[in-house]
Each structure stands twice: as C-alpha cells, then as structure tokens.
C-alpha cells in the first residue's frame, strides 16, 4: 500500500498516470491533506484496475463509489471524466495501460453456437455460423481435395512402390526410386538447370515487371490500351511460345535471321540450339512471357500509392530510382512476395516452355525435372522414377511455401 500524491495544478496540464500504481493503492483527486488514510478527503483506494471514475467530494465524507467496468466504458478510450473538474487532469494513462484495462474489462462474448437464433453472432458480427461456413467451403474442399491434394498424396505414396500403369504386382520398394533418381546424372543436371532458371528468371521477371508497371503508373492518353497490349505476351501459352520462338529464332524468314541480316552479320543457327546459350535463351523467353503479367499484377497496387508521396519525393530531389526504392518498393513488398511465390512455383515446374523449343537439349542443357519426369514416365516406361522426380518438385514448392507463409503470418496476425 502506498499513497500517491499529486501536486498538479488544477487546469490545463496533461498529466501522465503516475507509474507504478497498482490495485489497492491510494489515489487522490486533489493534493490530499492526509493521503495515507483511506477515505481521506478526495482520496480513495483503486479497486478495479481502472482509474476511479467517481470521486468523493472534498466536503462530504461519503463512501467513495468506484465505477464498475461496464460495457460502455470498456469500449471508450478515455476513462470517464471524474465529477470534480480538478480531478480530470489525472485521467490520462499511457496507451499500453489503457489497452490492458480494456482487455481486462472486455466482456467475454459467448462463442457462436451455430444456431440460426444465435443473435449475437448474426446481428452484431454479421458473420456466418460454423455449419454455414462448412457448407460454403465443402465444394471447394471436395474438388481441390480430390483432384489436387489427393494426387499429390498418391504420388508421394506410390513413389515408394513400383506402381506403374502396366504393373501387375505392387511391391514396396522403399526409397529405391529416389536413390536411383539421385544417382542419375541427367536428373542432377535437370535440378541444377531449374535452380539456375529460377534464380535468374524470377528476379528478372520481377524487375522487368516492376519497371514496366512504373512506366504505366501515372496516367497518360491511351494508357488503358497500352496496358492491355502489354499483357499480350502472357496470353501466348507456354507451348505456343515454344513453337513461336522456335521459328522466330531458327527458321528462314525468322526474326533472328532477319536481325542478323539487317546488321550484316553472318547467319547463325538458333541460340536455343547452341550449347552454352540454350538455357539463357529459355530464360529470356520466359521473362518475355511473364514480365508483362508481373506488371499487370503490380500496377493496381502501385496506383493505390497516394500521388502526394511521389510529389513529396520529387520536391525532396529524389530521382526515379530513389523513389522506386524508398516509396514504391516498401508499399509493394507483400504483393511482391506473393507474386514471387507464384513465379517460383511456375519456374520449378518448367515443362511446356522447353518441350518444343529445345526438347531439353542440346544435350541436357535445358532439361528440367518436370520434363525429366515426363520423359521417364511416358517415354522411358519408368513411371515410378517419373513420379518420384515430380514429387521432389512438390517438396521444393512446399518448402518454399512454408517460408512464404511464415513471411506473411506477421501481416495476418498484426
């Protein structure tokens, strides 16, 4: 028990709640004559963990009334003003202390029972009851569970067996598929290729997409149409893009041959077929196809940044690069993370982009795990190996996905 004495003037100064005050302490509205005595003039014991809301008048000696925490004042930020004008100077506490008070005084809402007569849940929260929620989620759960999650699980299970379409006798083979897979030098090359592919293509797609979106950010005449035109490369499917670039780069009358002729350089074979250049070509084509999509995804978020922030940056003398780094990037970081997750997943599964363009060649220079898996399962009649290779892609995406979810969790719980 300790008494707190205040020597605050009666008006115009905002006082902080005295630190170290606890339940049972004496608090006084005015400088008390004798603060040590409970019920001394203008003093009372703090009983409710909240700042007292009613004060005994300094003339009467009546029992002090302490306001019980009610719903109403549990949801107001400020304690109610005490009756005595001088006492209100006390009424401020640090925000943390106020939050603690609120948490302590908040009435516990009963959990939603799911009954349609559960008025609290329906009327005050406007929310769905648990059975309604389950019913809404069920079709999605059935569809995605059966056609997406179940195949992944079956893939995992069957990768430990010799299961294949023509296999009569099902046997457990343990990790044999995986050990054979990891011993295959071609798979090692494929894994290395896809790591290089992802590490180069994803940052390049994000950077080019970011630059394209920045070009489109502020309005100009014809922006709408430019924006849709920008999206066209993404509409070319990966397989069509493979067909297209195979000719643009390698056929007579193709773009590559024309450009070389224009520059008076001798004709060359397609860079997609040249050792050392093939992977770079595939990456470049993927960036050509995906960067516009990144721009399309980033642009709405970029437009939501208030234009005053750009004016401010300009007034402070920031150039385009500085503005992008200090204003746009921080605002777009969560979105960039999400887009990066999608792009990484796509890159790890690169299949149709190389199927026709290079077929994995020259040699194995553009072989990817997805193509390897397909070739093993369909063409080489080694279904279990193909499934195991594919499952390693799931594992890689799951690993990166876990990191992604960790990275976003802060946002959801904040």
């Amino acid at each position: 028990m300790k008494a707190v004495r205040t020597s605050l003037p009666r008006h115009d100064r905002v006082a902080e709640f005295p630190e170290g005050l606890a339940l049972g302490d004496q608090a006084c509205a005015d400088p008390p004559r004798d603060a040590r005595r409970d019920g001394a003039e203008g003093c009372q014991t703090i009983r409710s963990g909240r700042w007292p809301t009613k004060w005994p008048s300094s003339t009467s000696q009546s029992e002090p009334e302490v306001g019980e925490p009610t719903l109403q004042h549990a949801f107001t930020d400020e304690p109610r003003a005490p009756d005595r004008p001088g006492a209100r100077l006390w009424g401020r506490r640090s925000p943390d202390a106020r939050l603690r008070d609120l948490a302590a005084a908040r009435p516990r809402l009963p959990p939603c029972t799911g009954s349609s007569r559960d008025r609290l849940c329906v009327e005050f929260k406007g929310m769905l009851t648990r059975p309604q929620q389950v019913a809404l989620l069920a079709p999605f759960g059935v569809l995605v569970g059966l056609a997406l999650v179940l195949p992944m699980l079956l893939g995992l299970l069957s990768s430990f067996t010799n299961y294949g379409p023509g296999e009569i006798e099902l046997q457990l083979t343990g990790v044999q598929n995986y050990s054979r897979l990891l011993a295959d030098p071609e798979f090692a090359i494929a894994a290395r290729n896809v790591v290089i592919f992802t590490a180069v293509a994803v940052p390049a797609e994000l950077a080019v997409g970011f630059a394209l979106a920045s070009l489109l950010r502020s309005p100009f005449r014809g922006r709408r149409i430019v924006r849709v035109l920008f999206l066209l490369p993404w509409l070319v499917s990966p397989i069509a893009s493979g067909v297209m670039w195979r000719f643009l780069l390698g056929a007579p009358g193709g773009l590559f041959e024309f450009a070389l002729a224009l520059l008076h350089r001798p004709a060359q074979s397609s860079p997609a077929g040249q050792p050392g250049l093939a992977l770079a070509t595939v990456v470049a084509i993927e960036v050509w196809r995906m960067a516009p999509l990144v721009a399309f995804l980033l642009l709405p978020a970029m437009e939501r940044i208030p234009s005053e922030r750009f004016d401010e940056a300009r007034l402070n003398g920031a150039g385009a690069f500085m503005t992008a780094r200090t204003i746009v990037l921080p605002a777009l970081r969560p979105l960039l993370l999400t887009v990066a997750m999608l792009l990484v997943g796509l890159s790890l599964g690169t299949f149709d982009a190389v199927l026709i363009l290079t077929g994995g060649g020259p040699g194995s220079e553009t072989m990817t795990p997805a193509l390897y898996s397909y070739q093993q399962a369909i063409q080489s009649n080694a279904w279990p190996i193909g499934v195991a290779a594919a499952w390693l892609i799931v594992a890689a995406v799951a690993l990166i996905g876990t990191a992604y979810v960790r990275g976003t969790r802060a946002r959801y719980t904040a």
Binding site: C121, E123, G126, L128, R130, Q132, Q133, L136, L137, F140, G141, V144, A147, L148, L150, P151, L215, L216, R224, R227, V228, L229, F230, L232, P233, L235, V236, S237, L248, A251, G253, G254, A261, W288, F296, P300, P334, L335, T338, V339, M341, L342, G345, T350, F351, D352, I356, A370, W383, G386, A390, W391, I393, V397, A398, G401, T402, Y404, V405, Y412
Partner: protein, 274 residues
C-alpha cells in the same frame, strides 16, 4: 518544367521500346501467318505478298483444328465456371466466418503455386481409375481444381476489402446466406469475379499438361494439337504453324480486350493496408 517535359519524352520513348520488345515477336508471327515474310537473300531484304492461304492450310494439315478450338473453348469455359463458383463460395466462407481462417489463406497461394507437372502423373492415374480419362468432364474437373486455389485467394482478397455494411443490413432484414450472396455480395463484387474468371479462362485455355496426360485422342485440345505439330512424323511449315498460333491466340486477345475495364480488379493483394 523543361525537366518534366524531358521526363515525359523519356517515358514515352521507354514505353515505345517496351511495347516493341513485347509485341514484335507476336506481330512477326501474325505477319508470317498472312504470308508476309522477309527474303534475306536480297539486299535490302524484300517482303513477300500477303495471302490468306496459310489459314486454309491449317485445316489441311490439322483437319480437326476447328473441333479442337471448340473443345478447348467448352472445356475452358466449363472449368472457369466451376472453379470460380466453387472458389467464390469458399472465399466467402473464409472471409465472413467466425472461425479465424485468414491464417490458412496464404496456403491457398502455395497450393496454387505447385506446378501441374508435379502431380499430373498420379492425377492421370486417378482419372483412369475413375473412368474420367479422355472425357470432357474429367478435363473440366481437373482444370477447375487446378485453378480454384488461385481464384479463391484472389476472391478472398476482394471479399475482405469489401465493406460488409450492406451484407449485415441484408442479414438483419432477414435474408439468408445465399440470398445475401446473390443479391448483395455478387452484384457488388461482379467486376472482381469477372476479372478472376478471365484469368482462370486464360490459364485453362493455355494449359498443356492436363489435356496431354488426361486425354488420348477422343478429346483433343489446342495445346496438345500444338505439341503435335512437330513430331517425328511431320513438321509443319512455319507459315501454317503461325496461322494456327494466331487462330488460337485471337480468342484470348479478344476476351482480354473486351474485359479490359474490369481486369485491373484482379489483384493478389489480400488486404488493403492503405
């Protein structure tokens, strides 16, 4: 002022360069499909005259091409309708529920990020086991399941950004969940739903692996036909292939052009923080 003017010109130049880089390959293909090709043996290169014969050749080289286009359109439209409906209901359940589901939403994106190649082999076995292989319903179901997580993620974002006052009012006035959905939520979110549907349609139309492994001759779709252009048996002439490319590309381009006003509602932002 002069600096600003210079900046505008610089931006215009950069935009023009970007547009050229992005579009020249497509334009080149379009020209080749019309028979306009350069002859680099002469100097300066000369151009051949335009013709529509290549489009007629597509029908000769790939007799079923028009059927494949129709199949692709039906399957993609069906998958889009199913995926968007199912994803919208799920997103609504997640966004308006009492149970704190927001934590699971990032996992939808992870699910959407898993490449098809990673599970298509067991999926094709599953389809064979349930006799859904090489049938339109099988392809539709598979495509819908593959695109639904992304659609649910996007629609959850739209739903959680939308103010719920009108919905609450409808609920208090006695509308049920489905009534509120049909009369309040869907009309208010229509642009977002349309944008999601367009993106899902493009993804379904362009997907190769699902029809490649789930169908076998009976149901044939455009991407599979394209992968067949170049096999050991035959290699299509470039102008004919270009014509086929352009024919399969035009529906998507038309769709995107027509829906350009709603497309910017497709955003991966889960919540608006500003």
């Amino acid at each position: 002022m002069i600096a600003r003017l210079g900046e505008r010109w610089l931006r215009a130049a950069l935009l023009a360069a970007a547009l050229a880089l992005l579009l020249v390959p497509i334009a080149w293909t379009a020209l080749a499909s019309l028979g306009v090709q350069p002859d680099t043996t002469t100097s300066p290169p000369s151009w051949s005259a335009p013709t529509l014969a290549n489009f007629a050749d597509v029908g000769v080289a790939e007799p079923g091409f028009m059927d494949e286009l129709t199949t692709s359109a039906i399957a993609s439209a069906g998958a889009t309708a199913l995926a968007v409906t199912v994803a919208f209901l799920a997103a609504y359940g997640l966004a308006r529920g009492t149970f704190q589901a927001a934590r699971f939403v990032p996992w939808l994106l992870v699910l959407a990020s898993v490449p098809v190649a990673a599970y298509v082999l067991p999926l094709s076995e599953l389809a064979r086991g349930t006799h859904l292989d090489d049938s339109l319903p099988g392809v539709v179901l598979a495509q819908a399941a593959i695109t639904a997580p992304l659609a649910a993620f996007v629609l959850f974002g739209s739903l959680s950004r939308m103010p719920t006052d009108t919905e609450d009012a409808a609920r208090i006035d006695g509308a049920g969940v489905l009534g509120t959905l049909a009369r309040v939520t869907v009309p208010a979110l229509w642009p977002s739903i349309a944008a999601t549907a367009v993106v899902v349609f493009v993804l379904a139309w362009n997907s190769l692996l699902v029809p490649l492994l789930l169908t076998d001759g009976h149901v044939k779709m455009i991407p599979v036909a394209m992968s067949d252009f170049f096999t050991f048996e035959r290699e299509l002439e470039w102008p004919t292939a270009a014509a086929a490319l352009i024919v399969s590309f035009l529906p998507l381009a038309a769709l995107v052009m027509a829906s350009q006003s709603v497309l910017d509602r497709f955003t991966l932002h889960e919540r608006s923080r500003t």
